[in-house]
Subunit: 230 residues, 2 copies
DNA sequence: CGGCACGTTGAAGGATCTCAAGCTGAGTGG
DNA sequence: CCACTCAGCTTGAGATCCTTCAACGTGCCG
């Protein structure tokens, strides 16, 4: 497995743990229960805004979502991408701390925040799972910091692609990248032109294969070597 | 509020509030109880290592701690600084995700993790509290991402100093910076020379006053103007 | 067809990193 | 009291990388 390979080289483990998530295959169309509501959101639509009263939190069933914080100078920071199984917007703050936007058509399960404490009390398993998912989100956030602290643009992108591979690789080895280059740039703290150039170089060096813009296959060893060399 | 819930239920004598960000002046030397142990750590010593089995979590009573993740190329990323009132290492992961090092002589309160899990199951209020604290940590992590995404070194430093001001300003308006320039650099993802130059410029522009290395006073308006202008 | 969003590529400029040297203050030992 | 050491901080200069601005290409859609 990747972790062992990387750890043996004394490298920071790759950001396998993304935001709060469960294995994709555990995602089911849950039966309707009183405390949850299923809904669909079209690509480009906003699920909630930064600063909105946090009435609900969500779980992604299908599609992809980006979490965006606006920054003073007009730039934006994408804090995380959420894929099926991930939780969105769970915090105890009264207001949402970021804007959640669908980047693909999504189906979501919505939970009422005020029911949460009741559920925690009445359902120990739910409480433990929620705690674990939130802690995982924190772990993911720390991993992202490590990504951002990498000075080199190529490092950041390689790191990102390895993480996407752990997280969203299909059975046939292909990785779907639902986000645009601009999204990736805002996620990694780079200019989108820089991301584009880094992609081109990775393709030239055969570290990735990219027949279409949103579908790639990576050469793990080559990418990890690039991290080592840095 | 949740804090009060936990205090009244499990902690007869208040070890301050159980908040990830408690006001320093509420920190007291709590009496010894079965599930907590007070200990002291000297500056430079390690509290726990990244990858260690997570047997305990801690609360800072006095001093300052840095949370460090090692990165492949020999660099390191400081994920957070912890000051009195902060909690350290309270995720549900089996292993600590970062190394915690004292940057000043510290007194800490140590809690056994397995007691925590028991309490989650048996006591809903505790579970809610822990959930809230973890969510707060996540919020702090997102805020840090925004700091890191600021392209300019001056922006990052200004942001950092404003945050330290919110967090650690004394009654007389002075801010203690227990961490070195190198620590700040690793926190902000910059070279320490760059941090030093940024400090110098802020001093020249009178945005900060710095009679000694570890003690500054900031001009909030000037710093915020710098962020806007960027 | 035109408009538009997204992506790629080039060129120039600027910010940061790296390497290197010197400075400061604290602690130590003579 | 002084010289010495060492860690942390500052400053300089050059090289490197990234950003910015600009142009162009592509695919989609009305």
């Amino acid at each position: 497995m990747l972790q062992t390979a990387i750890q043996s080289r004394h490298i920071q483990a790759p950001p396998a743990a993304w935001s709060a998530r469960t294995a994709p295959n555990t995602v089911k169309t849950a039966p309707a229960r009183s405390f949850e509501t299923q809904l669909t959101v079209k690509a480009g639509e906003t699920i909630f805004h930064e600063g909105d009263e946090a009435l609900y939190f969500y779980k992604v069933l299908s599609g992809a979502v980006r979490l965006v914080k606006a920054v003073a100078d007009g730039h934006r920071q994408i804090c995380d991408f959420n894929l099926p199984g991930d939780l969105i917007g769970f915090s105890n703050a009264a207001e949402h701390e970021f804007t959640a936007e669908a980047i693909q058509d999504c189906t979501l399960m919505r939970y009422r925040r005020k029911d949460t404490n009741h559920l925690i009390r009445s359902d120990a398993a739910f409480a433990c799972e929620l705690q674990a998912l939130t802690a995982k989100g924190l772990s993911s956030a720390y991993a992202h910091m490590v990504r951002l602290c990498h000075r080199s643009a190529h490092d950041r992108l390689a790191w990102f692609l390895l993480a996407m591979s752990d997280r969203a690789e299909n059975d046939d080895g292909w990785i779907d990248l639902p986000m645009t280059r601009v999204d990736i740039a805002d996620y990694l703290g780079l200019a989108h032109e820089t991301v584009s150039r880094a992609f081109t170089q990775l393709k030239k060096s055969s570290a990735i294969v990219e027949p279409t813009l949103n579908r790639i296959k990576i050469d793990r060893v080559a990418l990890e070597d690039k991290l080592d060399a840095a």
